[in-house]
């Protein structure tokens, strides 16, 4: 399989006043195209930090990170924003939908950055909502949807511009078991049937089972561990 993400000697240092905190230490990691990877580890181990670097939301202090041959560590803020718009979809623990917009409008958001016409945008958003099984809720606002439904809208928003990569930070962290399984099943479908590469942070071993394999992060380093 082709390598999609190539991480070399990656480190991240946060400065809190005078104090420097090295959150990630010299990480090396390859993620194959089409992989579904779960990242686990104790709180504060640097999972979100690593995920944000992979998604191009943050820039590393040292080392390199390449996605499909593009070096994220060498991009400026503007270039990263454009890269994110066309290559990554994000799913967060608390859905982070726009409360004033309908599900449809929420899903359409990333398409505003494309040259698509209003009719095209609407059509693509509808398709994405169908894919997550919420076509009948298109006109509902987030406040009128359950947590699981909101997270599925968020997933529709993440895939609507057809990115290669999905990064998910504890996507089921706020959901009950049943909704969590729906969301995880959906992610597995997106991975298996639509070829999306997925990196998912989770605390839940049951969630990690949906992934192809799991990596553990501890105090900023990847630790080798037999598959659970």
């Amino acid at each position: 399989m082709n390598t999609l993400i190539e991480i070399r000697d990656l480190s991240k240092v946060y400065e809190r006043g005078r104090q420097k905190v090295e959150v990630l230490h010299h990480i090396n990691l390859d993620i194959a195209q089409g992989d579904f990877l779960a990242l686990m580890g104790p709180s504060g181990s640097g999972k979100t930090t690593l995920l944000n670097l992979i998604g191009g939301l943050d820039t590393p202090t040292g080392g390199s990170i390449g996605v499909a041959g593009q070096r994220l560590d060498q991009m400026g803020a503007g270039a990263l924003a454009r890269w994110r718009a066309s290559h990554v979809g994000f799913v967060f623990q608390f859905y982070n939908l726009m409360p004033m917009l309908s599900a449809q409008r929420n899903v359409e958001l990333p398409l505003l950055l494309t040259k698509l016409s209003a009719a095209q945008r609407k059509k693509n958003a509808t398709i994405a909502l169908q894919l997550v099984g919420l076509a009948d809720r298109a006109s509902h606002k987030p406040g009128e949807l359950s947590g699981g439904q909101q997270q599925r809208v968020a997933i529709a928003r993440a895939i609507v511009s057809d990115p290669t990569l999905l990064v998910c930070d504890e996507p089921t962290g706020d959901l009950d078991r049943q909704s969590a399984e729906e969301v995880l099943g959906l992610l597995r479908t997106l991975n298996r049937e639509h070829g999306k590469t997925i990196v998912m942070v989770t605390h839940d071993p049951k969630a990690a089972e949906y992934a192809n394999h799991t990596l553990h992060l501890d105090k900023g380093t990847l630790v080798e561990q037999a598959a659970a």
């Binding site: 944000n52 939301l57 943050d58 890269w83 994110r84 409360p99 990333p110 950055l113």
Partner: protein
């Protein structure tokens, strides 16, 4: 434009707060519309083709100082002068000292210099022949239910008659109609009495004149004529100052009140408050949307477009409130003018006021949005998502 629904949604995210802010913006621009109309009406006073042909000559010292009546013959001699007349301030009030009336004691040819005032030939003749006769503006007549033939008492707030009483009696002999309804508010409220009757009745006036009005043959010669008139009294004890009617009205009004300054200071205070208020609204609006703005940036919206969206939001807020406010002013002003029975003749919200208002809306919107917009632009995605 395709972001408009985003901006609109953001604006009405907190309906109550946005509406409260809108109400204050509406109120501020309503006030702006009304005050600017007042200012414009003051600026426009005396600005007419007929007005441009008239010069007013008053004492150089102060507008209360009087001038000798003998000047009339000398002014008439100045080349370029077509006609000259004079008048005194009478300071009349009807029944109640609060019912002030614009009353002037004039030479009979006074109305000949004001072609915009219409009096029927018969009434004009009656005025010329009646020593105690008075011509009254039609609005004034309506206000006090006067008609031709009435004998009315009038108090002068300044001048007693020979018996020492300030109560005068006049016979209403004619009604004045102003031809130019737009500029005519003043003439419709005017009360003209005979200078001769005035001069002979009050011991306070002996051949003195409040001011002269001159009609020039050629508007382009007005400045030269004005200088020539002032030259007559140079180095005398009654030096004069001659100005066009427009300039005279303006400086006369300035002595009463500097409307521009008053309007400017009121609006300054109002808009200052508005900036603080709507600035606070925008700041709160952006602060509580931190994570939403972070999501927009996560999705790939550039920092510049986030900045632009917040600026657009605050400009939209100001435009919405401002246009409603000015629109209300445009509706209310004619009603106020009508309700005042011609006392106030406000010109409505003119193109100038709309333009100035729009400029103010955009400027205040940008000013008020600048800080929150910068904050949104600089927002660090990772920190904002983590709630830091």
């Amino acid at each position: 434009m395709k972001y408009l629904h985003l901006i609109w949604a953001a604006l009405f995210r907190r309906k109550a707060r946005t509406i409260l802010t809108l109400v204050s913006i509406v109120a501020a621009f309503l006030l702006f519309g009304m005050l600017d109309a007042v200012r414009t009406s003051f600026d426009q006073a005396g600005q007419s083709a007929n007005g441009a042909q008239r010069l007013q000559t008053g004492s150089r010292l102060s507008f209360i100082q009087t001038l000798p009546q003998s000047l009339e013959a000398q002014i008439a001699q100045v080349p370029g002068v077509k006609m000259v007349t004079y008048a005194n301030w009478f300071g009349g009030a009807y029944q109640d000292p609060h019912n002030q009336v614009f009353s002037f004691a004039v030479e009979p040819n006074y109305i000949d210099l004001y072609p915009e005032i219409e009096v029927s030939p018969a009434e004009r003749k009656a005025f010329d022949e009646t020593r105690t006769g008075a011509l009254v503006g039609e609005k004034l007549a309506q206000r006090f239910h006067w008609k031709v033939g009435d004998k009315i008492p009038m108090q002068s707030t300044i001048f007693p008659n020979r018996e020492g009483s300030k109560n005068w009696t006049f016979d209403i002999v004619g009604i004045m109609h102003s031809k130019d309804k737009k500029a005519g508010g003043f003439y419709d409220q005017m009360f003209l009495l005979h200078w001769k009757y005035f001069d002979e009745t009050t011991p306070y006036n002996r051949g003195q004149v409040g001011w002269y009005v001159t009609r020039v043959a050629d508007v382009n010669q007005a400045d030269r004529v004005a200088r020539a008139i002032d030259a007559i009294s140079a180095n005398s004890d009654h030096e004069t100052r001659t100005q066009t009617e427009q300039a005279a009205t303006a400086s006369w009004m300035k002595q009463l009140a500097d409307i521009g300054l008053i309007v400017g200071s009121i609006m300054g205070a109002v808009f200052f408050t508005l900036v603080l208020l709507s600035g606070n609204t925008m700041m709160q609006a952006v602060r509580e949307r931190t994570s939403e703005l972070a999501v927009l940036k996560t999705i790939g919206f550039s920092s510049a477009s986030v900045l632009a969206m917040v600026l657009a939001e605050s400009v939209l807020l100001l435009l919405l409130g401002g246009l409603i406010g000015l629109g209300l002013a445009a509706l209310i002003i004619p009603a106020v003018s009508a309700g005042s029975g011609g006392m106030l003749n406000l010109p409505g919200v003119g193109a100038g006021s709309w333009l100035l208002g729009l400029l103010l809306m955009v400027a205040i919107g940008l000013l008020v949005g600048a800080l929150p917009a910068l904050r949104a632009m600089r927002l660090n995605i990772v920190d904002a998502l983590a709630g830091r």
